[in-house]
């Protein structure tokens, strides 16, 4: 009897211990996120508060300004917001169709031996450190654009879009393949049994059936594209001003702006970089909210 009671007590203790362990592990992540949000918002909002030690900057001028010239005390991120949105949109415009078609090829069209080679190859793209994409863009894409750009150099929105397109492919392909394969076989069989061709079945039944997964993939791709830094910094050109009016114009993105100056910035300039992070963070937050909405909807179906 005694032994049994002892064992029960010991078990109860270890149960509690592990509960505490799980809780603290979970809390760690939550605390980190909270700390980051607090840091960004307190530091980043300071330059817009009255009575700031380095002088108050107008928030509206910050959001819509088209000059980032710390030497002149000008901190406008408007042209970067536009550049970031254009770059993301452009990368999606190219990446989504290529990604979905690749996924369809892997999941449906390719013979299984080829699919078995292609899928890991595409997924390997995700494992390559982003700076390597930058180097590739710098060494290959920019010189290529040099050949036909009307501007003095190939550092441009176009180069950014091309690099980002390659970078968003793996997540779009991987998730789309999974969701295409998850479409129940009986839809496919039903369609083929009605005399639909393979291609008709793909476009009328399989892709619509995988819609929510593909949408998730697209939103994740948007997140990756807008947050990407190291790869694009090497090909963007990073000018101090200028709303891009052509695809050949050099651009400065929200992310690259932070990396370029955070290392040495002090005073108002350092604060303004934190304010840039707020803008970027707001975009990321919006993307994540969209994502969770899509997920909820997918669960309901």
């Amino acid at each position: 009897m005694d032994v049994e009671i002892k064992l029960t007590k010991k078990r109860a203790f270890s149960e509690k211990l592990f509960h505490a362990l799980f809780l603290s592990a979970g809390l760690f992540a939550v605390i980190c996120v909270t700390a980051i949000i607090i840091l960004i918002f307190t530091r980043g909002s300071r330059p817009f508060m009255p009575g700031n030690e380095y002088g108050t900057y107008h928030f509206f001028n910050f959001l819509t300004g088209t000059f980032w010239r710390p030497a002149f005390g000008e901190y406008g991120v408007g042209y970067m917001i536009i550049a970031s949105l254009f770059a993301t949109f452009g990368a999606m415009l190219l990446g989504v169709p290529i990604g979905i078609l690749t996924a369809v090829f892997i999941a449906e069209v390719a013979p299984s031996w080829l699919a078995k080679i292609m899928q890991p190859t595409v997924e390997l793209l995700a494992a390559i450190p982003s700076v390597l994409y930058g180097v590739f863009g710098f060494a290959v894409i920019v010189p290529m654009i040099n050949n036909f750009t009307p501007n003095p150099t190939g550092y441009s929105l176009m180069a950014v879009i091309l690099v980002l397109t390659i970078m968003v492919l793996p997540s779009i392909v991987a998730i789309s393949v999974t969701s295409l394969r998850a479409v129940p076989t009986h839809y496919k069989e039903g369609s083929l049994a009605l005399g639909a061709s393979h291609i008709q079945t793909i476009f009328k039944v399989l892709i619509p059936g995988a819609k929510s997964g593909i949408l998730t993939a697209v939103v994740l791709g948007v997140g990756r594209a807008i947050g990407e830094t190291m790869a694009v910094i090497l090909v963007a050109g990073n000018p101090e001003s200028g709303v891009p009016t052509s695809i050949f114009d050099p651009v400065r993105l929200l992310t690259t702006n932070i990396v370029l100056e955070q290392g040495y910035a002090t005073g108002l300039q350092a604060q303004m970089l934190f304010a840039t992070v707020i803008v970027l963070f707001t975009f990321i937050l919006a993307i994540n909210l969209t994502l969770s909405k899509i997920r909820k909807k997918a669960v309901r179906i």
Binding site: S112, P184, H186, Y187, K188, E189, G190, S191, L192, A193, L194, G195, A196, S197, Q200, K204, V205, P208, G209, I301
Partner: protein
């Protein structure tokens, strides 16, 4: 009695495993032929050779001949899409597409390139009437096919198949996922459908086979043990295995 399918020495292999052995069989026009037998006897596999559904599976090898209308070899002389427009199929689990009732029925004709709205309307109505579903859904053709009950979904799938005006309808245990009342409705429907179509049905239920079919083929271990008039198979079978199965001694 006209022969719809003439099957000669059909063998089917999944890799090294032989699933069908030397099947020779005539399936007759405007009759209901039931394929019965224990699980794994090859009856569904056989059914799926008739519209080449097995093409989807890797590693399947088929030898022998299946002649449609007694002359065209469906594996050598016909393209698979043409075959499937003539030989429709209804599956075990009702599988309407996640689209409206109308679009489900119009799916097949549209895939063949039919765009004329009026013609499509006619086909949809006629097919739904043919599947005894029209009165239940005529006011909600734009509702999702998935919103219907299981029995209605299965009749929608039958409507979808007959919208193609096929000559043959293959049914793979079409009532096994349905309740008794829905089953009864589908069975009644089959009696009506055989006036226009040749029906070949796989069923687990011997009572169902006895109720609805004119001809019955008894499958065992990938072979056809006995084939003949349903009445004869169920009352006075020639083979001992058939009798044992029918009387419930195994299966």
């Amino acid at each position: 009695m006209e022969t719809k399918f003439k099957i000669q020495d059909l063998n089917l292999f999944y890799g090294d495993f032989q699933a069908l052995h030397n099947i020779t069989l005539d399936l007759y026009e405007n009759k209901v032929t039931a394929l019965i037998g224990p699980s794994g006897c090859g009856k569904s596999t056989f059914l799926r050779t008739l519209n080449r559904m097995n093409d989807l599976i890797d590693n399947v090898k088929i030898t022998g001949k299946i002649l449609l209308d007694g002359r065209k070899d469906i594996y050598e002389k016909m393209d698979v899409i043409g075959l499937r427009t003539r030989v429709g199929m209804v599956f075990q689990k009702p599988n309407p597409f996640p689209m409206s009732i109308y679009d489900n029925v119009a799916y097949g004709p549209r895939c063949q390139g039919l765009k004329d709205k009026k013609k499509l309307d006619e086909i949809v109505e006629e097919a739904l009437r043919g599947a005894a579903l029209w009165d239940e859904v005529k006011d909600k053709l734009n509702k999702s096919g998935m919103s219907l009950s299981g029995g209605q979904q299965q009749r929608l799938c039958i409507a979808r198949a007959i919208a193609m005006a096929p000559e043959v309808i293959l049914m793979d245990e079409p009532t096994s996922a349905l309740d008794p009342i829905a089953t009864q409705k589908v069975e009644q429907l089959m009696g009506k459908l055989k006036e226009k179509y040749t029906i070949i049905i796989v069923t687990h239920s011997m009572q169902q086979a006895a109720r609805i079919s004119d001809k019955t083929a008894f499958f065992l271990m990938g072979e056809v043990i006995e084939f003949g008039d349903t009445d004869k198979i169920f009352t006075n079978p020639d083979k001992k295995e058939t009798e044992d199965y029918i009387t419930g001694r195994f299966g």
